[in-house]
């Protein structure tokens, strides 16, 4: 699906990604975990074309998209659910969703939009209930669902999510992760950036651990969950105790 080789990027003199190589296979959930400032969000922004690539390749759909503008990348089927949801608060839920469908307009596949809207409403029934409500009036969890729904409206091949659990109550987090798991069951491919490493590894197939712009560990989620470094650094020290519960 996507293959990244020796990606390097930064802001001004600051090198943020030093040399990143990774890949996501079709139908997988791959998670990126790491501390603040490790470069996780920068990676998603670079894939999306928002941050410029300095060196390296991003092969998406057999094309190197490293120098492509963001709108072209979205059009190719790579959508981002940004950190902090970024819904348009003074527009209705439905309007927000329709905005996500602009790609379908551009592709002259307007006919699909209604169908897609129905599909999103089946995944998130709450969004249908609130379709005429201003997005700003939604709860954090609902806004997150809206942000995911908006990204799905473009029928992307790859959905990238930046910290979808951020600032949400534990029960809502669980719901969001269930939805991500369901997205995979429906054949979607997900690249998930998360601080909540344990929850992310539980639903992901594979993971990469970022540390100061480099990948220090990669492997299946099961292996990562048993890796002591990951446990200590990202999963909290109570993992063994929790496992007993």
């Amino acid at each position: 699906m996507i293959k990244i080789k020796n990606l390097e990027t930064g802001y001004g003199k600051l090198k943020v990604l030093r040399r990143i190589s990774m890949h996501v296979n079709p139908g997988e959930i791959v998670t990126i975990i790491g501390a603040n400032g490790a470069g996780k969000t920068t990676l998603l922004n670079t894939i999306s074309g928002i941050v410029r690539t300095r060196a390296g390749e991003i092969i998406f759909d057999r094309q190197n998209i490293a120098k492509f503008p963001p709108e072209k990348i979205v059009l190719m089927g790579c959508s981002l659910v940004p950190e902090g949801r970024q819904v348009f608060p003074t527009m209705t839920v439905k309007e927000n969703l329709l905005l996500g469908a602009h790609v379908l307009y551009l592709k002259k596949r307007k006919g699909l939009i209604k169908e897609e809207l129905e599909r999103i409403y089946t995944i998130f029934p709450i969004l249908e209930d609130r379709r005429h409500q201003m997005a700003g009036t939604l709860s954090g969890g609902e806004q997150q669902m809206l942000a995911i729904g908006r990204a799905l409206m473009s029928k992307p091949k790859l959905i990238m999510m930046d910290e979808p659990s951020m600032g949400l109550a534990p029960l809502i987090v669980k719901e969001i992760f269930n939805i991500i798991r369901k997205l995979r069951e429906d054949g979607n491919t997900v690249l998930l950036v998360e601080q909540n490493a344990k929850a992310a590894l539980k639903i992901a197939d594979r993971g990469y651990v970022f540390e100061t712009g480099r990948i220090v560990l990669e492997g299946t989620s099961d292996d990562m969950l048993t890796n002591k470094d990951v446990q200590r650094a990202y999963l909290g020290r109570d993992l063994d105790a929790e496992a007993k519960l």
Binding site: K5, N6, R19, S21, H23, I215, L217, T226, N227, K228
Partner: protein
């Protein structure tokens, strides 16, 4: 039969991506966690961020057995000892032993790779696997033990030695797969004959052999005498243990588990890479080891890579059976000679037994080589002329193969010492 078809049959393209990802994260980890590597890279002023392709790997320094010894016992570990769940030491065929460690994940990976090798060699969950490798610090026993358990086979951890008991168990427990050194397999075969056990009464189907160099002739001999499919497998404790590479039942070279090990073949003298297909020293970089990663480890094992696809469908590159070690290579009269070359010649000659010993001595300034060859009993009852003819044939064939002349002595059956572990083929009496 594959153990992990999605891995063993992955395309080269996918494999290369995985290798580069794993190489980069391994380098990042060793640089962070192992002072030895950090110092070595800093000394030659190499920035590991500049290693961006598999070819770039060549810019990194080699790691040798000596580096391992100098950092005895734990200084090359990349994780704290509390995360290590197992410690092994090299079998010490040559020199003092070196210590290696495994995390929980390393053991998991190891079992899995050993399971691949066993599956490729024919073993399934329905098999009864007799592991006649030594257990203990040596990795041979445990590695294949865990692999066989992983497959779901019934494992008999008999360890090496007590050949008659091995045979009794083989009969009573209905062993279907034998795991040991090839020389021990031959000893078992000979003992069977002595005990008057009909090999057809056994349930043996497969043999997985490793831990020492052997020849195609020896394979044929084992296959014939034990009526099994004999495959070769390869591993070394410094890198992991058995499971690094193994033959499939096509028996045409060992598939290297390339998603976990990056291999190069170099000229042991110039240290430059040799073209694919040419013989040289195998160099291995681990891609997934957590506790004991090694970067460009010089194995001292001589082999060549086979890039042609194998009929079994596995996409991993193959290596030819190890033909010897750079350190058991004898330099005789300035010519490089490997015991395996001599073995190969002897196997082609009618009337000889697959047991031999090479004695190297120096008379004045000249090297002298004597090859002791066991012959079938019948020949000794015949007249001298036949014996002399046989000696002449062996001499001539060895001279053609090696490019130097050697003395040949025929000895009676059973005069050369049999071993239960690795065979001692060479006695070098030269004093330098």
């Amino acid at each position: 039969m594959y153990w992990e078809p999605d891995k063993e049959c992955m395309s080269r393209d996918e494999l290369e991506q995985l290798q580069i990802e794993r190489l980069e994260s391994t380098l990042n980890r060793v640089y962070m966690n192992v002072p030895f590597y950090r110092k070595k890279f800093d000394e030659i002023k190499i920035d590991i961020d500049e290693i961006r392709s598999l070819d770039d790997l060549r810019r990194l320094p080699f790691t040798t057995k000596n580096d391992l010894r100098e950092n005895y016992p734990y200084r090359l570990f990349a994780v704290p000892l509390r995360e290590v769940v197992r410690i092994h030491a090299s079998s010490g065929t040559t020199g003092m032993s070196t210590v290696v460690g495994y995390t929980k994940n390393d053991i998991k990976t190891w079992s899995n790779l050993a399971a691949r090798v066993l599956t490729a060699g024919g073993v399934t969950k329905d098999d009864v696997v007799q592991i006649a490798f030594a257990y203990g610090l040596f990795t041979g026993g445990f590695g294949l033990h865990y692999g066989a358990e992983r497959i779901g086979a019934s494992v008999i951890p008999i360890s090496s030695g007590n050949t008659q008991k091995q045979i009794k168990i083989m009969q009573d427990f209905k062993t279907t797969a034998l795991v040991c050194t090839p020389s021990y397999a031959l000893l078992i075969a000979d003992t069977l004959r002595e005990m008057g056990v009909n090999v057809n009464s056994l349930s043996l189907k497969y043999g997985l052999f490793g831990a020492e160099p052997w020849s195609e002739g020896m394979r044929n001999e084992i296959q014939e005498k034990l009526k099994i499919i004999a495959t070769d497998n390869y591993g070394l404790s410094e890198v992991m243990g058995p499971g690094v590479a193994g033959e499939c039942i096509e028996r045409n070279g060992l598939h290297i588990n390339e998603d976990h090990f990056l291999v190069e073949v170099i000229n042991p003298e110039t240290l430059e890479p040799v073209p694919v297909g040419e013989t040289g020293e195998l160099v291995i970089t681990t891609l997934t080891k957590e506790a004991f990663p090694v970067i460009r480890f010089r194995t001292r094992d001589l082999t060549r890579l086979i890039s042609e696809p194998c009929r079994c469908g596995r996409k991993f590159i193959r290596m030819m059976r190890v033909m010897g070690r750079t350190d058991d290579m004898l330099i005789i009269k300035g010519v490089n000679v490997f015991p395996s070359q001599i073995e190969a010649v002897l196997f082609d000659i009618e009337g000889t037994e697959p047991h031999y010993q090479i004695i190297v001595d120096r008379k004045g300034h000249l090297d002298e080589v004597t090859v002791l060859v066991e012959v079938s009993e019948t020949i000794f009852f015949d007249e001298m002329k036949k014996q002399n003819e046989l000696i002449e044939t062996i001499k001539q064939m060895l001279a053609t193969e090696l490019g130097i002349s050697v003395e040949v002595k025929l000895v009676e059956k059973k005069t050369i010492e049999r071993t239960e572990g690795k065979a001692k083929r060479v006695i070098d009496r030269r004093k330098f």
